[in-house]
Symmetry: C2
Subunit: 379 residues, 2 copies
């Protein structure tokens, strides 16, 4: 931690692949590639760390294959830090015929219907083979809304899984004698606090997770359909429960306004598909709010998407041209829109970090909230 401004924190996260300034936004590279981006595009927009999805990579091309090729950094030619999720969330959102049992979760692959199993131990092993810098524990992700009793049982199961994940992680790192190829000996592991929007369950989950002990702590199970105010309240009560010296990661969030609101509540790390997915749908984030490139009023608009943006897209292309690319189905339109949206997100995080250092974060947060109201966004 280098600076504080209220609950907002600025700091540096050190990983085997270099340092990351926090608060940070992590572009999502589901299948080992951030959609429509090359590595040099990502460097150009200022990405310091990206996220890879364990579920997708373990199904295709397979974690063992990636391990034999030296790990995910070598495989994807990305030499900056990478965080991998546990695969749990995708099992619960993409796979079919799920059966959650004490041992783990059985499911059918969304690719070919093959019967698969993910356990706390296998999730740790897969991530060890991938060699990400930050690995996540496997957690149970029940569909919301759910009855309190069901959520309580889910939180308890996630805690038991977290303990098994930690035990397996410590057995592997360092000096493993197992058959798991460790491609990144410096990997660390984050626990995940669950509990929906229940303060009691969140507290119970935070206690159990901290008792196990991890290098960092995530808040999961939010941005899954609840009201943004409920999310903010849950973050606000959960973040202070976590160790001040550890990084705090809010999973799957969010809009630019969400980022500022949750930094204001003590969050250091974010990931979300919104900037990349919305880009491919023609929705751009700008300093004046949202811009839909397909809108007819841009047909002859020769201005850049964002008048004050310094990204390659805004330095080079007009709204009229981007609209034409979108309507024509040209895939370079996805590339240019993604470049812009990621630059906007990462530039927003730069602004947040600077504001924290200068003690002007509260004003920055208010400005961002005024520009982006969550209601108008379709993630």
């Amino acid at each position: 931690m280098t600076h504080r401004d209220g609950q907002a924190r600025r700091g540096v996260l050190t990983t085997p692949h270099g340092s990351v300034e926090t608060p940070v936004f992590m572009p999502v590279g589901t299948q080992g590639a951030v959609k429509a981006m090359t590595a040099r595009d990502l460097e150009d927009v200022g990405a310091m760390i990206i996220l890879g999805n364990t579920y997708h990579l373990s199904l295709r091309p397979g974690a063992e294959l990636i391990a034999r090729l030296g790990g995910i950094h070598e495989f994807a030619s990305w030499q900056r830090p990478i965080l991998t999720d546990s695969g749990g969330y995708q099992v619960f959102s993409l796979a079919s015929r799920r059966q959650v049992r004490e041992d783990g979760v059985r499911f059918q692959s969304h690719l070919d219907g093959a019967a698969c199993e993910l356990t706390p131990e296998s999730s740790v092993d897969i991530q060890a083979r991938l060699g990400s810098d930050i690995a996540m524990v496997l957690d149970d992700c029940p569909a919301l809304p759910a009855a309190e009793a069901l959520l309580a049982e889910s939180v308890a199961l996630s805690a038991r899984w977290a303990a098994r994940c930690r035990a397996r992680f410590l057995a592997l790192h360092p000096g493993s004698t197992s058959d798991v190829t460790i491609t990144n000996p410096g990997q660390v592991q984050f626990g995940i606090v669950q509990g929906g929007i229940s303060p009691d369950l969140r507290r119970r989950s935070a206690d159990a997770t901290m008792q196990i002990g991890f290098e960092g702590y995530a808040i999961g199970g939010l941005s899954v359909g609840e009201d943004p105010e409920q999310m903010y309240r849950t973050v606000e009560m959960t973040a202070p429960l976590l160790p001040a010296e550890s990084p705090r990661y809010l999973m799957g969030v969010g809009t630019p306004a969400d980022l500022a609101e949750c930094v204001a509540r003590g969050i250091d790390m974010f990931d979300c598909v919104m900037p990349t997915r919305n880009a491919r749908n023609g929705q751009l984030f700008t300093s004046e709010g949202l811009l839909n490139v397909k809108n007819a009023r841009f047909a002859e608009d020769d201005r850049p998407p964002d008048l004050v943006c310094g990204c390659y897209t805004c330095r080079t292309y007009s709204r009229a041209y981007l609209r034409h690319l979108f309507l024509s189905g040209e895939i370079v339109g996805s590339t240019l829109n993604t470049l812009h949206n990621l630059y906007f997100y990462l530039d927003t995080m730069r602004g947040i970090r600077d504001a924290i250092a200068f003690g002007t974060f509260e004003k920055f947060r208010q400005d961002l909230s005024r520009i982006f109201s969550r209601r108008s966004l379709t993630p």
Copy 2:
């Protein structure tokens, strides 16, 4: 013309948007964008001139719109030279319900079925509005094979259309009083020699086209299904008929071997969708021949696609990763494959130009023919 080696010529083509070293390959940017490429990608691979399709651009976003935005260079943010075709070839290959008449061709748009008409005059007007550096005349492109008598009539019609195109072009440039917005006053116009594989018709068409007089001459109607040896023979007999001091453009050709074979027969300019289209299908051109990235034997191949290539893709990524991107449907796979294939084509042209200057072109041609046999290529 700066160098000769046999019939092969090296030279410089001067345009309002800069000079182009010939022989040159022009990447195809059908809808005002070379598929999957940004302008900086194109500069990175060394593209000196690109092609835009009049048919596509006039249907969407429309030539008047592009003219109001300052022309195709401004619209597409590409400040190097651009050649536009006449739209004729696409009308004959894409549109439905074609009716060829003396006046021009009527057809239905492939986008929305709208009734459209393209005449020699309107094709010139559209290209004047687009403001390409090189405009092409409208020619009749009958389906092949066709009876000699039909081809003869087609050649005669194309000659009458060429005369009308030239008259319209001269009326517009310079100092037009018409309602056509001229966005590039320095535009030049190329004629097109047709005639299938008939030496007699080719000679007749060349004579008629030269009698009208253009700044350059194209050979059209080849690479449409005929045997490569027939194409080479037709180029060999047609190119020497054309003025030695004018650029000679072989339309829609071809494989890397075709480029060398036709440079050897006096051609200066080429365009073809092969490097870009095949890239999107996972087929790469390399110094060792064709490589299909989806092939299972590349699953764990950590070598670059081409061991001796200097492109960004080969400097950065492995065959295993490119295979993974292809199988996963990641669009950045199209970007990386296209970057490589265009670099390979443009680097091949650099090699051809150097070989002409050094008097070693014949060896270069033989090497390329050995690596690429046309039989194995699917355009």
